[in-house]
């Protein structure tokens, strides 16, 4: 396997040809925050949380492949603050009432807020009033919490390969819709997968909320990314 040498904040790292910066960083025990990026899905680079700097240029590290000799800046204070501002923007752009949200403690957006010590967003709240979709038997879609990452659109398909979720409109008006016929046929397992693929509390399993007590949830005691930094994330 041909190996590529590159650095992250000066640390010498090795990558395989074709690996994205995020993947290669993970393999080298370095966490780069991601939100729209998800395991086996083709990256779309829509949230920009993973922005890094290479030779003075900003790039989404979930879509950018590593090249020989690349010097990646990941934790420069201005970069980290820019990421924090993106997280804050997502909080004011939706309605995020964490105290009453079923995903609280397991939510990636909230966990990023914790990791970046967000005490208050720097932007004014927008209070959208997007309609809740509760028509499918197993799932609920609370679009006021949706961060438009398109993970559901990319990851949840019917057995015949048709998309269960779709994004309609563009830019600030983008809205996630469910195909009601396909959603009606989802199995328990597929519905659980849809809930898990959503980083926030927008896709919820009906009648399954608040299953884990406070203190036992994913991010109650361990910051998001710490599994990668401990080298167990491979």
């Amino acid at each position: 396997m041909s190996e590529i040498r590159f650095t992250i904040d000066g640390k010498a790292c090795l990558a395989e040809r074709g690996q994205t910066i995020v993947e290669a960083a993970k393999a080298n025990g370095v966490y780069i925050p991601v939100l729209c990026n998800y395991e086996a899905l083709k990256p779309v680079g829509s949230c920009r949380i993973c922005t890094v700097r290479v030779a003075g240029r900003y790039m989404a590290s979930c879509t950018q492949p590593v090249t020989e000799g690349m010097a990646v800046e990941n934790t420069a204070p201005d970069l980290e603050d820019m990421r924090k501002s993106l997280i804050e923007m997502l909080f004011v752009e939706g309605n995020h009432f964490c105290p009453s949200c079923e995903k609280s403690g397991n939510c990636e957006l909230q966990a990023l807020g914790y990791r970046y010590k967000m005490m208050v967003p720097r932007f004014p709240y927008l209070w959208p009033g997007r309609a809740l979709l509760a028509g499918s038997p197993l799932l609920m879609l609370e679009r006021n919490r949706c961060v438009q990452c398109l993970r559901c659109v990319r990851g949840i398909t019917s057995k015949a390969g048709r998309k269960v979720f779709a994004a309609v409109e563009r830019g600030p008006h983008v809205t996630i819709e469910i195909d009601p016929k396909l959603a009606a046929k989802l199995s328990e397992e597929e519905a659980r997968r849809a809930m898990d693929i959503c980083p926030v509390g927008a896709i919820l399993r009906k009648e399954k909320g608040f299953a884990l007590p406070i203190g036992q949830r994913k991010f109650d005691h361990t910051p998001i990314g710490s599994d990668i930094e401990k080298g167990t994330g491979r």
Binding site: F91, H96, S104, Y114, M119, W127, P128, T222
Partner: protein, 181 residues
């Protein structure tokens, strides 16, 4: 030397943040040694009687009285802290922010199942504070200096923040202290 003075209030909140302040357990004895309380529901002092160093605000602003109290805190306190989700972002009262006010009032006072049909009225006594179109986070009404998220913020976070402020030292935040629920 006189002790630093603290004031507290609950605006559109549930007193949970004040309960969390009391949750510091035996550290409350240290707190009594460390600071003096002025206007606060804890000692029931209703009006500011001297300049205050730190004002702790629970709850956001849902009516004209909340705004007046918050402004008087800004005037009388050197440092203002938004304590808890409601002060920081409106909290659960702000669930009404994406519903028109008229609809909220009609639902609560005219159409709710517990209203005797035809006999409900929307409260309109002139002595009642005027309800605002939305619930506002405190920093969208006056300048707020520090923010403690959480519903409620843990006793440890409140203790750490208050002692850091009165001792004039930097805040030592651990991961477990920052929670939004």
């Amino acid at each position: 030397m006189s002790k630093p003075v603290i004031a507290t209030t609950s605006l559109a909140g549930c007193f949970g943040c004040h309960m969390s302040l009391l949750d510091i357990d035996e550290r409350i004895l240290k707190l009594v040694d460390l600071v003096e309380f002025n206007k606060s529901p804890i000692d029931d002092i209703k009006r500011f009687t001297k300049p205050v160093d730190v004002g702790l605000i629970e709850g956001g602003c849902c009516n004209s009285e909340n705004v007046a109290v918050l402004r008087s805190f800004r005037k009388n306190c050197k440092v203002l802290v938004s304590v808890g989700e409601c002060a920081v972002m409106g909290g659960l009262p702000a669930l009404r922010n994406s519903i028109p006010l008229k609809e909220c009032l009609e639902e609560a006072y005219l159409n709710s199942p517990t209203v005797d049909p035809g006999s409900g009225i929307i409260p309109n006594d002139e002595d009642l504070p005027i309800i605002l179109d939305k619930v506002y986070p405190c920093h969208e009404v006056v300048k707020i200096d520090y923010f403690l998220p959480g519903c409620p913020p843990s006793a440890d976070l409140i203790w750490e923040a208050v002692t850091a402020l009165v001792e004039g030292r930097p805040l030592n935040l651990t991961y477990d202290m920052i929670k939004f629920d």
